[in-house]
């Protein structure tokens, strides 16, 4: 179980990077970035997970409810989700403008931050 849990994290991260490197479309690239991003969210929650623990919500619970999963890691993951949404929205806005200017979204055709703009 431990191996599976952490392997999925590594897999998502690397597969997201793979998608970005091979991407031929900026919008596709942005979504691949969000896949790599979710790897880190997942890692945070896996570190905070406690087997047979209950959620850190204490409504209608006895006074000593037993093991509880890590609320810190959930808070950090929450922050990261919001952050990822913000970055994705900005990158999509940039992509829309790039398409308007150049008519393409292919990074291969966009390789022109020309050293010489003469």
């Amino acid at each position: 179980m431990t191996v599976l849990a952490f392997a999925v994290v590594v897999w998502l991260f690397v597969v997201g990077l793979y998608g970005m490197v091979t991407s031929r479309n900026l919008i596709h690239l942005v979504v691949c970035l969000s896949v790599a991003q979710s790897a880190t969210d997942l890692l945070l929650l896996e570190i905070g997970y406690v087997g047979h623990g209950h959620a850190p919500v204490f409504v209608d619970l006895p006074k000593h409810p037993g093991p509880t999963v890590d609320s810190i890691m959930q808070a950090l993951s929450l922050t990261d989700v919001v952050l990822g949404a913000a970055v994705s929205a900005l990158l999509l806005a940039l992509s829309v403008q790039v398409h308007k200017r150049t008519g393409t979204l292919d990074p291969d055709e966009l390789r022109t931050v020309e050293p010489n703009r003469s």
Partner: protein, 601 residues
């Protein structure tokens, strides 16, 4: 175990305000947007940046005597477990915050009324950038550092893409955003690993937990991840590719923030985590080896940056490569892992930060003027141009580490503490200084003669000329920034101050004690030798060599083919292809992990 939600000590209240004031002003500026008259927007933005700078300055002066520790929400540690987030400001972090504040103020004054069409959003973003930089420099919490890292990146790439009418700024912004976001993910992974291992996010408690234990695989990998993530932001090879794309296309006032603050923040992040978290776990021989890894990276970065600066025609991309070359020198200095060298690096970085800001703005003035008058050549074009040209020449001298500029003191301190590595450090600095100085001078001459290729885009032009070029608000920022670099160099006993600041920065037990509330005075100041006639001669020779090399570069027609052949492949690597940049970044991270593994285990 009910913790005391204690009231903070009087006087420390300024630390959170230095962040709260720019954030609140940003909220007002963007929230009200066009409903505030332009003049009031400018005033509010500048006033907020000035207030933040002054507050940071006061906190710095407090921190010079004793670390300023501030617990947000009043959550002090309970029985050794940190439950809140703290600021732990030492002189180094305090100075970095002041630098960020000054540069933000310069950017806001310089860009007065340029960006009217976007209302209050542009100054709001500059202020948010400032607050995030201050938080990054002061925080004592690793996750909080990550959040600030991301916020600096987000505001940075928005400002980069400001001229959305043009293709190049958009691509610069995208490369900036993607590379820095990947860097952020890597940092966050490192944070997660360290939390899983130590059970805390607080830098001091983390360092305390790791100290004295030989680092295992997890700690090594966490170090490699944090280091590569921070070096993406700093712009070290092979993570530097986004940097010229971004600086080369951002509006001049945004460039000075990115060039003068972002690189420094990246290096600061590396130094902070090394000194407070990892250094306690590293034995002598491992320290030797990690020194080699970081030093090699620094030398490589300095050389690549210098070579590319020499081969570059576009004035602002050229400045970006100069920034990279200097970052290489700082990294080399940091890799010595000696406190006095760290002080030298700090002085170099502070002085250069001001100067690079002045240079970006001066180049901006000249470009704008040339567009406004349509003149090809600039000779005899009035006082504004003369002042801008003077700023460039003086700036190059300052980057040559000539006395009395602060960078000269920093360099001497660095070389003096390098020990057996002294000649190597001296040589790398000489190559960097001569090469980048020559490149800037040659480019300035070409701009002056009207041969430069850096034609501002029409949109940029419309925005920037609207304010009129002969304006005081335009000329004052570069002049003041240059004066700041000069003034810093004239502070008496500057080297001693820097060395003691570095000693306090690297004092891991002292940091821990301060965070945990144990009273402890600042560590004794180590004496520094240095000075004397010999460094002066070398510095003079370097400046002279820069001028000579610049003269050679100007008669470029003869040497350009040679230069072109030598650096063609290098230039090919810097074409701005996002996939290439990502590939290099991942390769760098893997290599960093391998090297750290070999060094630290």
């Amino acid at each position: 175990m009910i913790p005391a939600v204690a009231h903070p000590a009087p006087g420390t209240v300024l630390a959170p305000l230095a962040v709260a004031v720019p954030l609140a002003a940003a909220a007002v500026l963007a929230g009200a947007n066009q409903r505030i008259p332009a003049l009031w927007r400018d005033l509010l933005g500048s006033a907020a940046a000035a207030t933040a700078t002054v507050l940071a300055g006061v906190v710095l002066s407090q921190a010079a005597h004793r670390r300023v520790v501030y617990w947000f929400g009043g959550w002090r540690p309970v029985h050794g477990t940190v439950i809140g987030v703290d600021y732990a400001v030492d002189p180094m972090g305090g100075a970095l915050a002041v630098l960020a504040g000054v540069l933000a103020l310069a950017a806001l004054v310089y860009s007065r009324r340029f960006f009217g069409e976007t209302g209050g959003r542009y100054p709001a973003l500059v202020l948010v950038f400032t607050a995030a930089s201050i938080d990054f420099a002061w925080t004592g919490d690793l996750f909080n550092m990550f959040v600030a890292f991301e916020l600096v990146a987000v505001t940075g790439f928005i400002l980069t893409g400001f001229y959305a009418e043009e293709e190049a700024p958009l691509q610069g912004a995208i490369n900036f955003a993607v590379l820095n976001t990947v860097g952020g993910l890597v940092v966050l992974t490192g944070v997660a690993l360290l939390y899983g291992h130590t059970g805390t996010l607080n830098l001091a408690q983390m360092g305390q937990t790791l100290a004295g234990h030989r680092p295992g695989g997890l700690v090594v990998v966490a170090f490699a991840l944090l280091a590569s993530g921070f070096l993406v932001k700093a712009g070290s090879v092979p993570w530097h590719f986004w940097l010229p794309d971004a600086y080369g296309t951002a509006p001049a006032p945004a460039s000075i923030l990115i060039a003068g603050v972002t690189s420094e923040l990246g290096l600061f992040g590396l130094a902070r985590t090394w000194e407070t978290v990892f250094s306690g776990a590293v034995a002598g021989s491992a320290e030797q080896r990690i020194r080699l890894v970081l030093g090699a990276l620094g030398v490589l970065t300095a050389l690549v940056g210098t070579a590319m600066a020499l081969a570059e025609d576009h004035p602002r991309r050229l400045l970006a490569f100069v920034v990279i070359a200097h970052l290489g020198v700082y990294l080399l200095g940091f890799s010595l892992l000696r406190t006095a060298a760290l002080g030298g690096v700090a002085l170099l970085a502070a002085g250069d930060g001001f100067v690079k800001g002045a240079l970006f703005l001066a180049v901006g003035i000249i470009r704008r003027h040339r567009r406004a008058t349509g003149a090809r050549a600039l000779r005899g074009e009035g006082p504004a141009i003369t002042i801008a040209a003077g700023v460039i020449v003086l700036g190059v001298l300052c980057l040559s580490d000539l006395p009395p500029f602060s960078s000269s003191v920093g360099k001497d301190l660095l070389v003096a503490t390098a020990g057996s590595a002294g000649p190597l450090v001296e040589a790398v600095i000489a190559v960097t200084v001569v090469g980048s100085g020559a490149a800037i001078l040659a480019s300035a001459v070409q701009v002056w003669q009207g041969h430069a290729v850096d034609n501002p885009s029409p949109s940029e032009d419309a925005a920037e000329t609207a304010a009129g070029w002969g304006n005081v608000t335009l000329l004052a920022p570069p002049v003041v920034l240059l004066a700041a670099a000069l003034g810093l160099g004239l502070v008496p006993h500057l080297a001693d101050h820097a060395a003691s600041a570095a000693a306090s920065f690297a004092d891991r037990p002292g940091y821990h004690a301060a965070v945990y509330g144990a009273a402890r005075r600042a560590v004794a100041r180590p004496g520094t030798g240095g000075g004397g006639v010999e460094p002066l001669v070398i510095d003079g020779a370097e400046a002279a060599a820069s001028v000579l090399a610049a003269a050679a570069l100007v008669s470029r027609r003869r040497i350009a083919p040679v230069l072109g052949r030598g650096t063609g492949w290098l230039r090919d690597l810097h074409r701005g292809h996002l996939g290439d940049q990502l590939t290099w970044a991942v390769l760098g991270m893997a290599a960093m992990a391998a090297a750290s593994g070999l060094a630290l285990r």
